[in-house]
Amino acid sequence: KPAPAAVPETPQEEKGFKDTIVFAPNTDAASLDPHVQNDTTSEQVVKMLYNTLLKFGPNGEITGDLADSWEVSEDQKTWTFKLKEGVKFHNGTEMTAESVKGTYDRAMDPSNGLVVGEIVKMFEKVEVVDKYKVSITTKEPYGAMMALMCNMSLAIMDPAYIEKYGMDLGSNAESINGTGPYKVVSWTRDEELVLESHDDYYGDKALTKKVVYRPIPEAAARVIALETGEVDAIQGVPANEVPRLESIDGLSVYKAKSIGQRLFRFGCNDSIVGNTKVRQALIYAVDRQAIIDSLFPGLSYPSTAPLAPVTWGYANLGEIKQDKEKAKQLLAEAGYPNGFKTKIVTTERYAKGVELAEIIASQLKEVGVEAEIQVMEWSAFLQTIDGITAKEFDAPLFIMGAGPSMMDADGGLRGLYTTTLTGKNDRNYGFYSNKEVDELIDAGMKETDPEKRKELYKRAQEILYLEDPAGIWLFDQLTNLAHSSKLKDVTVSPISTITFEKATIEK
């Protein structure tokens, strides 16, 4: 972790600090509407601008943010949140229970077609109890409710702005009114997003006056810009550049554990890969450590479960080592002693997606499986992977990135591995179907006793990981941030968002 923050009382400039941090993410935020944003780059900015009712503490515990306290009814269905008083939006209006209701009503209205709609599907209603008290009633008891309230998608907005800007909210600087430590000053898309500290922030005020986001899509250019000092921090350093950057005086690379995992999922509709033994064989054929060493040295470590350790509900199932003999044996048992031909579908959208596929193909070859690689442009990839029927689906092995932004096993498992009922694969892209897994996940969702939940998820993970595997989990990713050594106290969350509410930068 970066060194502790400087003493906040005195103005920063006098103490030899700069008032501006320039940060280069790889893309610009797509939208700064909490309900619309669904990518890390957007989310990390939204996080600077808005607050949620609850938040994760430094050790993953859930604490209040806009809510001071909360309680849940007997039937586990009604949650009542007592809000902090005197919280001001950027424009000076006060955040009240009405704000919460306005925000959630917008999220719940299916006619708005918001992605957040899926998350709040289990909400039945939101009611204002008094000015600073609001209650949310869910349709059924929901185990992950508290984690859900930490989700930036449920950050509280100003209903007046919702009214005024409608769906344009968050698409330009004027339309943003949050409660967060920073407010938007200007936003020139793809060029520059300037944030300034929010003077009336209810919590600890930001230490640096301005944060400037300057997206640089090209990784090599990003690194150069950091080296020339044009930017103070960059997101997404090419793994092979990390040692070099670390060795440069005045630059550091910060790495943090995250929820992110990289896996290749099985297309279980495939006649060969549908066979459990075949899937197990493929899992044993892969040498994870070699992959990590060559592509992401120091930036990832082998997966030990279908969830990353920072996710609530994670169960350590151990690393699976390459075992070619076992793989061959399993293949023989499955009826493919001489291997078979198959296909790996990948996309460059995921870091080193192509190289990963190349290495896996070469490792599979060692156990006799010939895999042809199909690289797809992201949009086309989505089309081939998402929202189609088993008949149309043709990707025996396909790349996936996973990580539940709620940091809860429910988010990490439910949509992805439970049997779909619609005939299309919905979010269960690989048509994975295991009755026991379905039951376990369903129970886990409804269970509100944390210990019991953990047990249920542990079992589910065992099945998914190896017994009847859904994918080849390769490695858990670290979020990395290369920055000038003068930049201190950047907050990097397990969901890979990088925020600057506590950050300072020396002159």
Partner: protein, 278 residues
């Protein structure tokens, strides 16, 4: 006559050197692979990003493949790709150009408008669109490049045909009753060949560049094919830590493209009747 062209061509030193470079690359593409001891696609992870050594003259890439070997195989892929795509593009372009130029009238109007239209279109985008429609891969990249070059060839050929059409020897052919087909195939096309060859030579280089641009956008040739553009584009982010991995394909591209241009320019000087007797 050809020996004269050759003589004139020889006068331009840079073109001769360009020709020699291309020859070297072509020979490399043809026989190089049989001299390589490494497999261009065999992954050898422990040996990734090696610096040049006796074992790996140009070092290795991110997956431990020998850069020199990939470069040599890449010569085959890149040259083949550019030749095939430009050939196909030119072939179709010639057909359109001849039809438009020879028949004139509404055929010409139609084809010319079409050409103008495609030319008014950002070229790279056209290639992107083709690859996006067909999916990426060698074949589709070639299709994209071919498609991209059709209007240029067609426009060139159209102009040539229009001026040829009015020459007396074509008129003489008509008078003896020769069919349009005969006139086009035996008289018009052979007489446009010189210019077309110049054009093709110049296009060969840009085809390689287009392929590399597509790779940059992630739409190029599929792995593990050692296409130069793909190699360069994969290695660009480690330009600093392992410069050779990027510099090798980058230099190869530059040299070949430059050489094609020089040869094209030399041919233009040598073949252009207007510059004769210089």
């Amino acid at each position: 006559m050809n020996s004269q062209v050759f003589k004139r061509f020889k006068k331009r030193k840079s073109s001769v050197i360009g020709g020699i470079i291309i020859l070297i690359f072509v020979i490399t593409a043809l026989i190089g692979p049989s001299l390589c001891k490494y497999d261009p696609t065999a992954i050898d992870l422990p040996n990734k990003y090696q610096s040049p050594s006796i074992k790996h003259w140009l070092g290795t890439d991110n997956l431990g493949r020998d850069t020199l070997t990939r470069l040599v195989y890449g010569a085959r892929v890149s040259l083949m790709m550019s030749v095939v795509s430009v050939f196909i593009g030119s072939f179709i372009g010639i057909i359109f150009g001849v039809l438009a130029g020879y028949y004139g009238g509404w055929i010409d109007a139609l084809i010319s408008r079409l050409i103008d239209l495609i030319l008014a279109f950002p070229g790279l985008l056209l290639a992107i669109a083709v690859v996006a429609v067909l999916g990426s891969g060698i074949m589709n990249t070639m299709a994209a490049i071919a498609f991209y070059s059709i209007p240029y060839v067609a426009r060139l050929v159209r102009g040539l045909v229009i001026s040829l059409k009015h020459t007396e020897f074509i008129q003489a052919c008509k008078v003896i009753g020769a069919s349009d087909f005969r006139i086009i195939v035996f008289h018009i096309i052979p007489n446009t060949m010189g210019q077309i060859i110049i054009d093709v030579t110049l296009s060969l280089g840009s085809a390689i560049l287009t392929a590399s641009s597509l790779s940059f956008l992630g739409l190029g040739v599929q792995p593990p094919n050692p296409e130069w553009g793909a190699m360069l584009s994969q290695a660009r982010e480690v330009l600093r830590s392992t410069p050779l991995a990027a510099l090798a394909p980058g230099t190869a591209i530059t040299m070949v493209v430059l050489s094609f241009s020089l040869v094209g320019d030399g041919l233009r000087d040598a073949l252009d009747p207007k510059l004769k007797n210089s």
